[in-house]
Symmetry: C2
Subunit: 494 residues, 2 copies
């Protein structure tokens, strides 16, 4: 058949188009698998989709992914053979029917996802099978292993490699940027990869990026560890557990969050960078990701058991998720909070400092032969002596620092105050509402946009007091955020 380049990408999956008559005469249907063979006998697997009218008889339409993988020219002749459906589709159906999958079956499914052999629709069946019929702990272990083995890994040859993760949902919660400098200043290796925002106004990678670069090759990361024991980069820049991103993409339309998938995703990424001791922060509270204590405790247990099976020491802490951490929300505003903290500026957010110290102490206690109390003292000393600050600047510099002082941070120029409508005490600040307002103001895409909180939980306020300030890059975005805030400020005052 003659290649027709379609000039459109599918976002991953290898798909080709054929006209309906050609497909009928080849007895092939939408979703069938085909093998495309070039004259030199090199070949690529793809999935067939049908088109009516657009393609001439004998033409085969190639989406960009296939076009470049096969390396053909427009109009070139290729041979097309029907090929077998991947066995992973059978395994997925069996999981849908409620059966438990074996290590090999899960490995095959993850492998096919990684290699773009499944349609989004087919991955959706896998996700929903795991969601409706729950994954067993054993299946979750296999999923984690499969995710690790289908991606790149960062080999660090040390007995102790520390790491931390927060399961998210709390605005402004930039503990990573506090913990990594403190811990690594004490000689502990901590190779930290972080994500960008998906539904929040800033991911750790977005905030770090205000100050330095976050996108590096595995080789560079090894350098950073050798030189400074630590880095803070964007996980997406390295190919760790790539199946995970593809699964998350499919979970998005329904906002599904399957527990097995969450556990596997986090643990695979930690194991892929050779972590041995991992601290996991599970914020609990209204508007956070986990809103029930039972769920938090169940998650904690599963993390710990799976960690053991994977040869990692895991400690989970359930923390207060009932309000944002720090005062800035949005990349630049959060980066300023962190710089103030290391600069020991009076404006530094004490709740972020306290949480960062506490979590650092946990990691020190897990990895060194010291009590928690001693560990906390070590963390405090590092911060107060300036050792942590020096380490922070060293990490920024390794990664090509852009900004190193809080005074260099610029914020968006359209601003507006949101004020208290009554007098009383702040009893809660809903993370989800605050995040939505900050996003409406432009964060994380506009790095200088966001929110700065003047009042936190338990503060007394009088009617008319400023609760927070909104920053936006344009009057229209500011207005949009203001409108949302006027409907619901996110603050509960009693």
């Amino acid at each position: 058949m003659k290649v027709k380049r379609l000039g459109i990408s599918t976002g991953g999956t290898f798909v080709v188009l054929m006209n309906e008559d050609d497909a009928a005469s080849l007895m092939m249907r939408k979703g069938d698998r085909v093998l495309l063979v070039k004259k030199d006998n090199s070949s690529v697997d793809a999935i067939l989709d049908l088109s009516s009218g657009m393609l001439k008889k004998g033409q085969i339409g190639l989406f960009e992914e296939v076009y470049s993988a096969l390396g053909v020219r427009n109009g070139e002749d290729i041979r097309v053979f029907p090929s077998e459906k991947p066995a992973s589709l059978d395994y997925i159906r069996r999981k849908l029917e409620g059966k438990e999958l074996s290590r090999e079956e899960i490995r095959q499914i993850v492998n096919d996802i990684t290699n773009n052999r499944l349609l989004d629709m087919e991955i959706a069946y896998f996700v929903s099978a795991c969601y409706s019929n729950r994954m067993t702990l054993r299946e979750t272990l296999y999923l984690t292993e499969a995710m690790i083995s289908t991606g790149d890994t960062l080999k660090i040859n040390r007995k102790v490699v520390a790491d931390k993760h927060c399961i998210g949902g709390v605005a402004g919660n930039r503990t990573t940027m506090v913990i990594v400098p403190i811990v690594s200043s004490l000689g502990i290796v901590i190779p930290k990869t972080s994500s960008r925002a998906i539904t929040s106004p800033a991911g750790t990678a977005d905030t770090v990026e205000v100050l330095t670069h976050v996108d590096f090759s595995i080789k560079k990361l090894v350098n950073f560890i050798e030189k400074s024991n630590a880095f803070m980069v964007w996980g997406g820049s390295v190919n760790l557990a790539p199946a995970d991103d593809k699964i998350i993409r499919v979970e998005r339309p329904l906002s599904i969050d399957s527990e097995g998938q969450l556990l596997a995703s986090i643990l695979a990424k930690k194991k892929s960078v050779s972590s041995t001791h991992v601290l996991i922060d599970i914020p609990l509270g209204r508007g956070a990701k986990i809103e029930s204590r039972i769920k938090a405790v169940r998650l904690k247990r599963k993390f710990e058991v799976l960690g053991k099976l994977l040869g990692m020491k895991i400690r989970c802490i359930i923390t207060d998720g009932s309000q944002p951490i720090g005062n800035g929300i949005g990349p630049a505003l959060e980066a300023r909070d962190v710089l103030w903290l290391f600069e020991r500026d009076d404006r530094r957010p004490l709740d972020l400092e306290e949480k960062g110290l506490m979590m650092s102490a946990h990691l020190i206690n897990m990895t060194k032969n010291v009590s928690f109390k001693q560990a906390l003292k070590m963390a405090q000393d590092s911060l107060e002596s300036g050792k942590a600050r020096d380490k922070f600047l060293e990490i920024l510099k390794n990664q090509g620092a852009k900004i190193t002082k809080s005074s260099q941070i610029k914020l968006a120029k359209f601003k507006s105050f949101v004020k208290a409508e009554k007098t009383g005490r702040v009893v809660g600040i809903n993370n989800r509402v605050i995040s939505l307002i900050a996003r409406s103001a432009g964060a994380p895409f506009d790095k200088k946009a966001g929110i700065y909180l003047f009042k936190k939980k338990l503060d007394s306020v009088s009617e008319g007091d400023v609760l927070y300030e909104i920053f936006a890059e344009s009057p229209s975005k500011l207005k949009y955020a203001e409108e949302l805030a006027s409907q619901n400020s996110g603050y509960t005052i009693r």
Copy 2:
């Protein structure tokens, strides 16, 4: 944004492409819903997909469905607004979580499927939710009602409207073409829509099409009923329960067959043509669609209960599915069997005749005030007197007959005999294997291709006796079918 026509169809769903930067600055992500507004303020809803590199800043790529629905020109300016995700996505997630859905929720989901507002991936979540968490009988009822109300209906103002359906899996089982003429010759209205083959070597619509046309408007169908009490057409030519086809398309990759979906699909199509008395044939046997008696009985019960709730009298019969019915398999070969039967030719397949008479008798017994024995006599009289044949020819003529005599049937010219490898008795003929061989020979796309069986179950055979003849339009297809038959003839001889 400026319209760019992509020239590719999605197969239904309304999808637009945007470049990643544009989407980011609008805070939109893959799968988000957008409203496209033309200068004249007419608008269309669509789902956003992202593209890297292919689209310039400010361009929006329209797949054919959207392009023609919106009615724009290439390069035209349109406005793009974010819009809400359909509420049906929430309902689908709730079903995935194991909750029972309400009538209104199911109606909304089916409505969104019908109107191309959901991605295949999102429909897949619905299918798997119904599959893993089973639909309750109430949900199945709601699904049926929703499928009916989102499609066209054929209003027939009679107290009794007969209909029949076979849940399939048996090769050559063309009872419809026997029953419809017999029953309608006795004054019973029977508006019969049939499907084309999906995985079989011929659907009833494919076989009828050898003799006459099968593609008509609702208006024409009303005419046929007024004139002759009956028609035999392709269901796809009218827009009955259109959501069903879209759901089936998504079920295909995993060969999922959800019971609730099967029940709703069949009953919606019957109710849509005003049927009041429906006979359902559930063939049971190895290689048929239903292989276990427990399953067959459970299905029978559900059909009967749902029928009552929908105001239809339903009778289910569990029939022998352990071998093909009739001798011809493939459109032309099956059509010849049926013509022989009405012509009272000695070569007519007696098993098809017997089954057709028995099922006709059930329908007569259900709709007229006569015993089953009397009903059977009436059916036999109609067939033997030539009344049924006249009715058959009348129906063919109404629909624009192409062939009316068995002698006019032409078969494919490349032929080959498959012979018995041992002496004994035929104890079974696997429908699935026979269907696969007939399909490999070219059926149903090559109408003249297929298989003609010389031996049926319980026949004695000697080594070397002809079991069946394969017909194909080309030597290569014949060879392909022969190879399959040599691996497994489909016959069990003991």
